[in-house]
Subunit: 125 residues, 2 copies
């Protein structure tokens, strides 16, 4: 309501830039991508995302929950059951990231080929 907030990601230290940093942080992209397949429990997420530690999983989850992208649901059972799901806002984001992830899967071979060309050109002084 007050003036217009600067959400342009190209401007340093503006809110939009911080959002970009959250969303493209090392694990957030994979986490959103994993949750796009459906709500999941903590340990399932850990198994799905190769290489993530429990610390980074819970830390990233907390940031995304704070941003309103992920919802956390606790069923108070004897063995605690906690489920994470995307919020509607998170689903929108997931659509974009899933597209990106799909493109990577399809293009990685081309990129590796390009790397080979680049390295070969460099080694020829």
């Amino acid at each position: 309501m007050d003036a217009e907030p600067i959400n342009d990601v190209f401007v340093a230290d503006c809110p939009g830039r911080h959002v970009l940093d959250h969303v493209t942080s090392r694990w957030a992209t994979l986490l959103i991508g994993a949750l796009a397949e459906g709500p999941q429990r903590f340990y399932l997420l850990r198994d799905r995302i190769g290489g993530i530690s429990e610390k980074m999983l819970s830390q990233t989850l907390r940031v995304l929950a704070r941003d309103g992208l992920v919802a956390r649901e606790v069923e108070p059972d004897s063995p605690p059951k906690v489920t994470y799901r995307l919020t509607p806002l998170g689903e929108e984001l997931a659509a974009h990231l899933s597209g990106l992830i799909g493109w990577i899967a399809a293009s990685t071979d081309d990129i590796i080929t390009a790397q080979g060309r680049y390295d070969a050109a460099k080694s020829r002084s």
Copy 2:
């Protein structure tokens, strides 16, 4: 052609994961986004991307060039002129990232609101 290479980003240390790391690295997303607006000179990119240092700009540019996403063109003039442009592969990527950047610009306000709710709920012990 040989077997199937593992390009699934969810698998640790596979080629696809490395590509994801490049593409979502701190500056690469903004750099691709900036180049999506058209080929640009070095100093223009630096001015466009708030907060980037020359070191990180040239470093990120080099990684993306190696991946075959960005092309570097030198006109050997007295004042050196170097232009960077997206390759066709880079254009494909830019389409995905521009969508993401647009979503962020549109959703940042919602996210800030969510952060406020989250923090308020926490402070009430």
